[in-house]
């Protein structure tokens, strides 16, 4: 039960900056996902919290106490490795008891806690089996149990589902989430899979190139990305981003998208209106917001149709003006080569600065 505060945290490896100016407070009992592509600094951040890597600047505090001078064996951090790092030369029981033994807990107390943990995680039937050769979901439970039994202040999970088959991942996801609810522990979860972050985390911290770009609940991040990278990274498929030019019409400002047509008049927030708009913008909209409409002001050719169960992904455009649309299967589907005419609800449009990539005016 611990709050983690990262302030101005940074790490350089030689001249390479792995992480810069990271500020993030993770609340007591919160499930926070550090999300980003490989090399974005998420694992470095996690390793610094665990004490495997020392920061080159900034501070890490657990409940207002700096832990930079606490060695990693005493930080009280439960760490679940990507491949679980189970001690395969030991039995399941010895694995579970390892941390308690290391901390000198008495034999009777140790037995009690190991048995209770095994019960909780349904590991009792295999307690005396060797840990080698167990299936992946049992290894996951064992890895979590092994950390949980010493009652760590916080849990860190490093891409625990990346070695799991696609078909089995959703089962593992719900299992993980159920476990977190049981332990109600502060939990930091590193992943590159936006779906895992969206479905499990209370809050998501999106990172890229060693920088924290946005922190928020899954829906905040989905609905109001503060950065064009975040917009593209979140969602499946991610947000469509088209280059456009601001133009004026009788009903107000709109975005000219060259061969793709023009947007409907923008519903600008007061802030965006007062800030003024740059001449060039990045015009963003979610694929599911594409509204097939014979009177729509925008149009793009369909160059690929991907039907996946309940939904269909249309791949639109080409050469610089590419977008995707997600449609329900119930409607009549265009075929490759057709021109899809569509409209976007102005309230669902997000604009970004083409130079900085930052969202214009926050909520439009």
């Amino acid at each position: 039960m611990t709050q983690i505060a990262l302030s101005n945290l940074g790490k350089k490896f030689g001249s390479f900056t792995a992480l810069a100016q990271m500020n993030l407070t993770i609340g007591d009992g919160e499930f926070v996902a550090l999300l980003g592509p490989s090399g974005c600094g998420k694992s470095t951040t996690m390793n610094m919290i665990a004490g495997m890597v020392d920061p080159t600047e900034g501070d890490i505090r657990f409940d207002d106490r700096s832990i930079l001078d606490v060695p990693m064996s005493r930080r009280g951090v439960g760490f679940v490795f990507q491949n679980y790092a189970i001690f395969t030369h030991m039995s399941v029981r010895e694995n579970l008891a390892y941390g308690l033994r290391a901390q000198g807990v008495s034999a009777s107390e140790r037995n009690r806690r190991v048995n209770a943990m095994a019960d909780l995680l349904q590991l009792t039937p295999m307690l005396d089996r060797r840990a080698a050769g167990l299936s992946v979901n049992i290894l996951q439970r064992l890895a979590i149990g092994r950390s949980a039994v010493v009652e760590p202040a916080i849990f860190l999970l490093d891409e625990p589902l990346s070695n799991v088959d696609a078909a089995f991942r959703s089962v593992m996801r719900s299992e993980l989430k159920a476990l977190q609810r049981q332990f109600s522990q502060t939990l930091v979860y590193v992943t590159h899979d936006q779906l895992e972050a969206m479905t499990m985390a209370d809050r998501i911290a999106v990172m890229d190139h060693g920088k924290l770009l946005q922190v928020g609940t899954p829906l905040e991040i989905y609905n109001n990305p503060q950065d064009v990278f975040v917009a593209r990274f979140i969602g499946s498929p991610g947000m469509n981003i088209l280059e456009g030019t601001i133009a004026s019409s009788d009903e107000g400002k709109l975005v000219d998208l060259a061969s793709a047509g023009r947007s409907a008049p923008l519903a600008l927030s007061d802030r965006a209106a007062s800030q003024g708009l740059p001449e060039k913008v990045l015009f963003g909209f979610r694929p599911e917001q594409v509204n097939p409409d014979p009177n729509g002001t925008m149009a793009l050719p369909v160059n690929f149709v991907e039907r996946i169960g309940a939904r269909t992904i249309l791949h639109l455009g080409g050469d610089g003006l590419e977008a995707k649309a997600v449609l329900d299967n119930q409607i009549a589907m265009p075929s490759i080569g057709d021109i899809l005419r569509f409209s976007i609800d102005p309230k669902m449009v997000r604009l970004f600065d083409p130079v900085s990539g930052i969202a214009i005016g926050g909520d439009i």
Partner: protein
């Protein structure tokens, strides 16, 4: 964890991919010539020795080896061997070298491996330097140690620094000290090999498992004894077995340093065989000794292999 499905839990337990029995048969026929050759190479010398060991054959008798049956004496060589005190003394000396040298080499090698598994400045240089003794030709090493342990040699000079009066120990001609000098040479020459094997084993212990142990609160010692050493089990057995067997082969270094002397004070089993072969020329008897050693070494190897397969199952 209610509502969690366990039905796919057994997916990971894969059945072995049994290749078709047809293919196995084909494989057998294709490799048959090679198997015959291997069998011949391995088995023929043993059978020949067994045969010779049942005779009183000597090259001086002037009959070829395959007619040695004319001198058939049955098991007499073996009964002689059982009561040959010089043989047993040589065996005992070999054993003594083994129980002193192998553990020292192991502990030194392990200690060095622990040092070298982490980075430190100048590591590459130290590493190369450490491996030099292994590259030295044993005969040359014998000569080096022969010089070192002369009564006016550097070892005594070194000891003199810590002593009030000049040390003049006659290492190689004192029956109680000659073996110590021989052991020192062996330890010098073969600790690097032990170190090399153990370092390779130590590096292959998964880093994340060691990290996991530390994050669970394990001290350095606990991590070392519960994760690192157990996971090195196979490689430790290999290293110990190699060195144990090699001790029986100590010859060149020792022969140059002491020639097995003074008297028979450093006569290990290989030196004894050499003397019986080259000086006494009773080759039927030599064959019997050789077979006896082969049996001892086979037992050592069998123990090592069975331990190793247990270690492998644990993985």
């Amino acid at each position: 964890m209610n509502g969690v499905s366990v039905k796919e839990a057994d997916i990971a337990v894969l059945p072995q991919d049994n290749a078709g029995s047809e293919e196995k048969r084909l494989g057998f026929w294709l490799t048959l010539p090679a198997q015959c050759l291997v069998l011949f190479i391995a088995v023929f010398p043993i059978l020949m020795q067994l045969y010779i060991s049942m005779t009183d054959w000597s090259p001086l008798d002037g009959i070829p080896w395959y007619r040695a049956y004319e001198l058939w004496i049955g098991f007499i060589n073996y009964t002689d061997l059982a009561s040959d005190s010089r043989f047993w003394a040589a065996m005992w000396r070999t054993f003594l070298v083994m129980i002193v040298c192998v553990p020292i080499q192991f502990l030194l090698g392990l200690g060095l491996a622990v040092l070298f598994v982490d980075e430190f400045p100048g590591k590459r240089w130290f590493y190369s330097t450490l491996l030099i003794p292994m590259m030295v030709v044993p005969a040359v090493a014998g000569y080096m140690f022969f010089l070192l342990f002369q009564s006016g040699g550097p070892v005594n000079d070194l000891l003199s620094l810590f002593s009030a009066s000049p040390v003049k120990i006659a290492w190689l001609s004192d029956p109680s000290l000659a073996l110590v000098a021989v052991m020192a040479a062996d330890i010098w020459q073969w600790t690097p090999l032990m170190f090399l094997i153990l370092l390779a084993g130590m590096i292959s212990v998964p880093q994340d498992q060691q990290m996991a142990a530390v994050l669970l609160g394990a001290s350095w010692g606990r991590r070392f004894f519960t994760i690192v050493l157990p996971r090195m089990k196979t490689i430790i057995i290999i290293a110990l077995a190699i060195r144990t067997i090699e001790i029986f082969k100590i010859f060149d270094t020792l022969y140059i340093m002491t020639g097995g002397g003074p008297g028979v004070a450093t006569e290990t089993i290989s030196v004894y065989i050499y003397k019986v072969t080259q000086q006494d020329l009773i080759w039927g008897y030599v064959a019997a000794i050789a077979l006896a050693i082969l049996i001892v070494l086979s037992v050592i190897s069998a123990i090592a292999i069975s331990r190793m397969s247990k270690g492998a199952n644990a993985r």
